[in-house]
């Protein structure tokens, strides 16, 4: 049984039909990537999984349990965290306070909290020097690190990452992808949404290609990398 499964999910924004029957699975321990051009519905898919949007049809299950009518804060408790599109750091909370909010569902007085904090600081040493800085004053790359770190603080079973490479310098992007791989190897299942298909497919096990709210292709990352249509449309190769 898949850890996370979407079956024929339809999500709307008012009249706008954004997801038109999405079905996908993410197995325990995998990195699965969701690629597609602007407006394809990638973020909408993640928002639907996190409970920010309620699908009008279809279902979402986590380890067999239906979660498509569950409110977002409960979904975090069930083991899904998201680092949202655009990072969405709390600008007037400090780095430490942002991380504390990430650990909201746990006690911040426990030894586990300290261990989690330490793990995030070890993954992102830059955050260590900036614990007292306000989130809004961090650079884009630092904010991205904080957003991923914050999502990790909940100790999720499944981590949803929405475009972690957006707007970052190539060196930083490489660092971030290395860290994503590390996080996965430390046991967290990851669903990764990316514009940067090249990098995403390099670290993912499997991938889905999304177009106008529909999945048009799914395969192992290796096959997708060599797929002609993917190469043309998303990898910029001819």
């Amino acid at each position: 049984m898949a850890l996370l499964e979407l079956t024929n999910v339809h999500t709307y924004y008012g009249q706008i039909h954004a997801l038109k029957g999405i079905s996908l699975t993410v197995d325990q321990g995998e990195i699965v990537t969701l690629i597609g051009s602007n407006g394809a519905g990638k973020s909408t898919t993640l928002r639907t999984i996190s409970g920010l949007l309620t699908p009008r049809q279809g279902q979402v299950t986590l380890a067999g349990r239906r979660i498509d009518r569950v409110p977002p804060h409960t979904i975090v408790n069930l083991g899904i965290s998201q680092s949202p599109e655009g990072r969405r750091i709390f600008p007037r909370l400090t780095v430490l306070e942002n991380l504390e909010m990430g650990a909201y569902i746990h006690s911040t007085h426990s030894p586990e909290f300290r261990a989690d904090l330490d793990r995030v600081m070890t993954l992102f040493p830059r955050l260590r020097e900036r614990v007292k800085q306000k989130g809004g004053t961090l650079s884009g790359g630092e904010q991205q690190m904080l957003a991923i770190g914050r999502a990790l603080m909940a100790r999720p079973k499944v981590l949803l990452l929405d475009e972690p490479s957006m707007g970052l310098a190539p060196v930083i992007v490489e660092q971030i992808f290395d860290i994503i791989k590390d996080i996965n190897q430390q046991g967290t299942t990851i669903l990764l949404v990316e514009q940067n298909a090249l990098m995403a497919l390099a670290i993912a096990h499997r991938g889905y290609v999304l177009q106008s709210g529909k999945i048009v292709l799914e395969d192992t990352a290796a096959s997708l990398q060599s797929n002609e249509m993917v190469q043309k449309a998303y990898l910029g190769l001819d």
Binding site: P72, M101, R114, L117
Partner: protein, 393 residues
């Protein structure tokens, strides 16, 4: 309360010492204190200057002496008004912080607090226990009762009148709040009349003591004016300061306070942290309502007689104070309240003195308050403390 993590190399990470925590609690309060001193000093200098300039034009009284004699009382009055506006303004600003919505029924939440306190005094009086009741205990119990009832009431209004409209166009909940305000006025009036309290209700308390002499100031020659603080004013100021300390602790140090700030900054993302946004909003109303209720009790004790419409003007002025400080900004609400309170007190006392009573001050104080609202809206829409965006909740 120390949160720390040690790394392999032994560095402390994210340490929060007692010192930081104290700073988080008293930092904003220090800012408020500075505004208290600043407002008092500047306004005092202004009236003394006026007195100097106008002295020649008057033969009936020595204007400078007259100015100095009432000055200490005016400053104390300014502080009382200031803390009144500050405690009420916090309710507006906190709710605005999380919902970007002006809860126009907040003045009535305040009024209900005053009625709860008065009801408590009345029921003690009916049992002939009031006269011998320990005064301090009475004040504490009345405030606690007012806080509980007003807090729960504020939470209920949110649940009933605002939450169902959360996704409606912005004007709709505003109308609902105005409706709620009128409803509460008439509901309290009905209850007060039905229970025999009457329309104008006397706020009975055990004897709270008279005035405490504070000192003397020279007013020219070898004459001195002694000044004192009314015990009710003292109670007001002390209670308000305790509440502001409590609120700063709650907002800046506790997990709940951080969650409130997170919700205020980004509601959707807060829910992605596992924060139950509806519960946090309800708790924000509870806290703001409780502060308003406490302010109502203190107000009732101070003025002695209340009616179901006493919430309107203080509510509107506290809203002005919140805007003055930058709506959504908690320290700003306190500062705005203080500044407005001082301005009002000075206008109320000195306008009449300087114009030979032609402008009997108390009514003109309202004009001063609302002129300020208009001026701020025009010239400094983000409030005294500058960019609301950098200082919000």
């Amino acid at each position: 309360m120390v949160v720390q993590a040690t790394t392999g190399s032994g560095h402390l990470v994210g340490q929060r010492s007692i010192k930081t925590i104290l700073l988080e609690i008293f930092g904003p309060l220090l800012q408020v204190l500075m505004f208290v001193l600043g407002s008092a000093t500047i306004l005092s200098l202004i009236v003394i200057l006026f007195a100097f300039v106008l002295r020649g034009s008057r033969t009936d009284i020595d204007l400078l002496q007259g100015t100095l004699i009432i000055l200490p009382q005016v400053i104390i009055d300014g502080m009382v008004r200031g803390f009144l506006f500050a405690t009420i303004a916090l309710g507006y600003t906190m709710v605005y912080g999380v919902l970007e919505f002006i809860n126009f029924a907040h003045g009535e939440i305040f009024m209900v607090g005053a009625f709860v306190g008065a009801g408590f005094g009345l029921s003690l009086a009916q049992q002939r226990m009031l006269a011998d009741f320990p005064p301090l205990l009475f004040v504490v119990l009345a405030i606690l009762l007012g806080m509980i009832v007003s807090g729960v009431l504020a939470m209920l209004t949110e649940r009933i009148a605002y939450r169902p409209l959360r996704n409606a166009p912005r004007l709709v909940p505003l109308i609902s709040a105005i409706g709620m305000s009128l409803f509460l006025q008439d509901l309290v009036r009905m209850i007060a009349l039905a229970t025999g309290m009457g329309f104008n209700v006397r706020f009975q308390t055990p004897p709270l003591g008279g005035s405490l002499p504070l000192g003397q100031i020279p007013i020219g020659g070898d004459r001195f004016a002694s000044f004192s603080i009314d015990s009710r004013a003292l109670i007001f100021i002390v209670a308000a300061i305790i509440m502001l300390i409590g609120l700063n602790y709650l907002i800046n140090v506790t997990r709940l306070g951080k969650a409130i700030r997170a919700v205020a900054q980004d509601r959707a993302t807060a829910s992605l942290m596992g924060i139950n946004v509806n519960r946090i909003i309800a708790l924000t109303f509870l806290i703001g309502g409780a502060l308003g209720g406490a302010a109502g009790v203190l107000f009732g004790i101070r003025v002695g007689t209340i009616n179901p419409y006493v919430g309107f003007l203080p509510g509107l002025k506290a809203f002005t104070a919140a805007v003055l400080g930058g709506i959504g900004n908690i320290t700003g609400a306190m500062v705005g309240g203080i500044v407005l309170g001082f301005l009002e007190a000075f206008v109320a006392s000195y306008l009449s003195l300087f114009t030979r009573g032609q402008f009997a001050g108390a009514n003109y104080a309202d004009i001063a308050a609302f002129s300020i609202l208009i001026l701020i809206l025009i010239f400094r829409p983000s409030g005294l403390l500058g960019e609301a965006t950098t200082q919000k909740v």
